[in-house]
């Protein structure tokens, strides 16, 4: 077996920096292929190819407007990735939580000491 195709799922699709850049850009509204290329300094064929990958995993949708194709972000397709990461949130919050509790302990020892 080889590496999973980039079109296998959102995890593989967003591994590529350029594709994340495209998604970042589309988060601000729909764009044509050439607009994307101009904004990100990418050649047109590469943009089309990246968009094809993003399309296959439903991260973007297309709309015809004359000779242009306007691509739009479909953020829902990122949710599985976000959901997976959420299970780790507590791990990097624990430190902050401990700091929080520590501060609360200080509060108990020295109540109403706000401005001194």
């Amino acid at each position: 077996m080889a590496r999973s195709p980039t079109t296998a799922d959102a995890f593989n699709a967003i591994a590529e920096r350029r594709r994340r850049d495209i998604l970042d850009l589309l988060a601000r509204g729909e764009r044509s292929v050439n607009q994307i290329g101009a904004a990100l300094d990418l050649a047109q064929p590469q943009v089309s190819k990246h968009l094809a990958v993003l399309s296959k995993v439903k991260l973007v949708s297309v709309r015809k407007a004359g000779q242009q194709r306007l691509y739009r972000l479909n953020a829902d397709a990122l949710k599985p990735v976000h959901d997976w990461l959420k299970t780790f949130e507590r791990l990097w919050n624990e430190r902050l939580d401990r700091l929080d509790e520590y501060l609360k302990e200080l509060q108990k020892e020295k109540p109403n000491d706000g401005d001194t």
Copy 2:
């Protein structure tokens, strides 16, 4: 150029399903290589190789314990991925927000109508 190496960053490293499985497992505590293999039904060399990738991007750390190597999750290395996804959160909350406002509108029109 070819596809970015899996060791380039966390984004590329977590694209592989097995490696996400390993991280899920390590979220519950440190494990030896063979424990991981047993839990996930993976051959030992593949486990070592996946762990090597995860090590290079700092997603795990190792600790010697006799002949064993105990691997531990380093969740901090997932933060960049999580931070990137956070910028999209509002996009999939907007629908819910609109639903929320719609429900509040209903509340105004028909106050205290809870059980009918």
